[in-house]
């Protein structure tokens, strides 16, 4: 078998290489590569945390190192792994899905990637420069003020997140303009694939949320470097202002991480159910509702601050409201599968896994929106369990579904379904072993972010189970990487359209040529490739 070039480049004379590329597919791959690398770093930090907590009164890590490990784990997974992975898929897929040759601003696209990466490198440089930030990923003031965090860790946190955020904001502008102005003839906004819809809404969320984080970071910088008093109670400032600004960013950030994954499974589930998505307009519209609501729920992270009963009640109500549009989507996906001819490929397994795990995370989220419950379990492992059911059980399973689904398009090779099944089931078992017991640990009072606990608490057995689960999860990730590497070397050739799919990215070669399409397609419905393959039963509209 002749070797297939990975990620087709321009002809030899025009080849510019990875450092100077402005091709949306290559930049997408760079983003995904960045996400994978930081996912590995964040995973190693997670394993350190779990190893330290496996038994009571362990001394594997000292408290200072433990604080750095959970801080950098959180920042890494959220801002340097999940967001780049999702942005990478969006970069690669959005122009293909809407029938465009590239994004609106190809050079700006390269700038956003390199800013995002440099932000991550700056954060990690702190390890060499005298210690990583150790104030938690949300870096609450006044703990993050110079008086209580005298090292340089928080300064690297400020600089790294600001630069990374600038890259993310620029990328969101680019993607939004691309979706709004670069669609091929016939691709009305009511016809774009749902992944594109979710990406557009995510871009809006980024543009509304990230600047608030940047502003907060600037203020923290003024406090730390210029002796300011924004978050310094001793100087008249209010520490709670940081929390307001941070969570005004932080809660939309959750949907920035979840909506694109929902978009991914909204592509995967219809194709493997052999049906159009059930209630396209409801999936898209409910996401718009989520986006609006997500800017009005931030203080549910602050119930324990003491804002007052009225404020808490309002934010409790808006937080519960978000469950409605989210539930709408769950029903859409299930209704898509009902009566379909299901093909339980690995991608589909991960998509179904997403639904199951995300429902658990969503329900524990609603329980946390109830103020008295939140007051009882806030800052406990119950919250840790909840957020991991949303971000791992939800987002990461969605990303894996997308990875199995689109890897053949990006590489020209199929991933092994056998290894894929091993990957899915070890992930599923490992994930639930790790995080399900943490609900109980939180409910009985184990606080998050403590480096150890006394044997007399009785928390040892559940923590050990959790750590064993984390080890299984690590094995699952190794299986995935073996699968990817084997497939890149000698995987089955995929062809243009291995899944008999619906959308435009499958109408071009795998991997797609530079500029994507020989001629710009024109579409007449939501499933353009299906229409072309089955003219006798083309979609209405």
């Amino acid at each position: 078998m002749t070797a297939i070039p990975l990620w087709v480049r321009r002809p030899a004379g025009e080849r510019v290489g990875w450092l100077r590329t402005v091709d949306h597919k290559e930049i997408g791959v760079l983003y995904i590569g960045m996400g994978v690398a930081f996912f590995a770093f964040g995973g190693l930090e997670a394993l350190l945390i779990r190893a330290q907590l496996a038994t009571p009164e362990a001394r594997l890590l000292d408290p200072e190192t433990f604080n750095q490990a959970f801080t950098v784990h959180g920042v890494t997974m959220i801002l340097l792994a999940i967001v780049p992975l999702l942005v990478g898929f969006a970069n690669y897929l959005v122009p293909l899905m809407i029938g465009a040759r590239d994004v609106a601003f190809p050079r700006l696209n390269a700038l956003s990637f390199w800013l995002s990466l440099i932000g991550g490198v700056v954060l990690y440089f702190s390890f060499l420069a005298g210690g990583a930030p150790d104030t938690g990923w949300f870096s609450y003031a006044p703990l993050s003020e110079r008086a209580f965090a005298p090292g340089t860790g928080v300064d690297y946190y400020i600089l790294g997140l600001a630069v990374n955020g600038a890259g993310t904001i620029i990328g969101a502008i680019n993607i939004a303009v691309t979706i709004l102005l670069m669609r091929c003839p016939g691709m009305a906004i009511s016809r774009v694939p749902l992944f594109v819809w979710m990406t557009l809404i995510t871009s809006v969320l980024i543009l509304g949320a990230y600047p608030a984080l940047t502003a907060a970071l600037v203020m923290l910088f003024v406090d730390r470097q210029l002796g300011g008093h924004f978050f310094d109670p001793a100087g008249g400032g209010q520490a709670v202002l940081w929390q307001h600004l941070f969570w005004f960013f932080g809660h939309p950030e959750v949907y920035i991480m979840v909506l694109p994954a929902m978009g991914m499974i909204s592509e995967v589930i219809p194709v493997f159910s052999r049906k159009p998505i059930f209630g396209y307009a409801f999936v898209a519209g409910s996401s718009v509702a989520i986006a609006f609501l997500s800017f009005s729920v931030w203080a549910h992270h602050m119930f324990a601050v003491g804002l007052g009963d009225t404020e808490n009640a309002i934010f409790s109500a808006t937080s519960m409201l978000i469950a409605i549009p989210t539930g709408v989507k769950i029903f859409n996906w299930i209704a898509t599968m009902v009566g379909g001819r299901l093909r339980l490929t690995t991608a589909m397994l991960f998509a179904v896994g997403f639904i199951a795990m995300f429902v658990i995370g969503g329900l524990s989220g609603v329980s946390l929106a109830v103020v008295p419950i939140d007051l009882a379990v806030t800052d406990s492992y119950y919250v840790v369990a909840h957020l991991h059911y949303v971000l791992f059980g939800g987002t990461m399973l969605g990303i894996f579904a997308g990875a199995y689904y689109w890897f053949p398009k990006m590489s020209g090779r199929l991933l092994s379904e056998v290894l894929g099944r091993w990957h899915f089931w070890t992930t599923f078992v490992g994930f639930n072993l790790t995080f399900l017991p943490q609900h109980w640990l939180g409910a009985v009072g184990m606080p998050r972010r403590v480096f150890t606990y006394a044997a007399s608490t009785g928390w040892g057995p559940l923590n050990l189970i959790s750590t064993i689960g984390a080890a299984i999860l690590a094995i699952a990730m190794v299986i995935f990487f073996v699968n990817v590497l084997r497939s890149l070397r000698s995987g089955e050739v995929a062809g243009d359209d291995p899944w008999d799919a619906f959308t435009l990215e499958w109408s071009t070669t795998s991997p797609p040529p530079p500029e994507n399409f020989a001629t710009i397609p024109a579409v007449t419905g939501r499933r353009p490739l299906w229409d072309r393959k089955h003219p006798e039963s083309r979609d209405g509209r």
Partner: protein, 200 residues
């Protein structure tokens, strides 16, 4: 079967970023739409800082009343507000002279801000002195940085126009102008909140 036959009549061909007309529209031109979205996200950024200033207004109000020279800053503000007018003339006529006038007015504003900073720092009021200084220097400083960036963009536009008169695309004029008007509009808010706020 030809699929192109199904293109709905109302669907315009995709914008290619090349504006042939004299006045490109935000809804059709990718560059202008990009600038507009960027400005929207910048607005969130300034909103956060303005809210922080408002939250800390009361403890700093006495200092603000005692030290800020509203009349003097109002004069420099008029220079900045007027620069929006000269910018509009510059875009309409694609005129380098009006552009130069805009740059001069923007520079006058920055000079005014610089002299005010020098005076305040001389009186011992800085970003680290008290809550008022922290909030004042952060908000006005961030705005000043945006004016500076706008001046750089204006100088770039003027230079490009000098080098190849009449060849600079309409979107470049339009895009720089949108950003400049935004910077001006932010100052309307900042001036009202900080300076006019001391008169209340």
């Amino acid at each position: 079967m030809s699929e192109t036959a199904f293109i709905p009549a109302e669907r315009k061909p995709p914008a290619l970023g090349v504006s042939l007309g004299r006045s490109p529209k935000i809804s059709q031109d990718r560059n202008l739409l990009g600038v507009a979205i960027f400005i929207a996200s910048e607005s969130v950024f300034f909103l956060a800082v303005v809210l922080a200033y408002v939250a800390y207004r009361d403890p700093g109000l006495a200092t603000a009343k005692a030290t800020l020279d509203v009349g003097r800053t109002a004069i420099f503000s008029i220079a900045l507000f007027a620069s929006s007018g000269t910018m509009a003339f510059a875009v309409r006529a694609e005129s380098g002279r009006w552009l130069a006038a805009t740059i001069v007015l923007g520079a006058i504003f920055l000079a005014g801000q610089g002299s005010e900073y020098a005076r305040l720092l001389g009186e011992g009021i800085g970003p680290g002195s008290a809550l008022f200084g922290t909030a004042f220097f952060t908000l006005t400083g961030l705005h000043g940085l945006h004016v500076l960036v706008g001046l750089v963009a204006l100088v770039a536009l003027v230079t490009a126009n000098l080098r190849r008169p009449g060849a600079v695309r309409a979107v470049a004029w339009e895009g720089v102008s949108m950003y400049w008007h935004f910077v001006d509009a932010v100052w309307v808010v900042v001036f009202s909140v900080i300076y006019l706020g001391t008169l209340l």
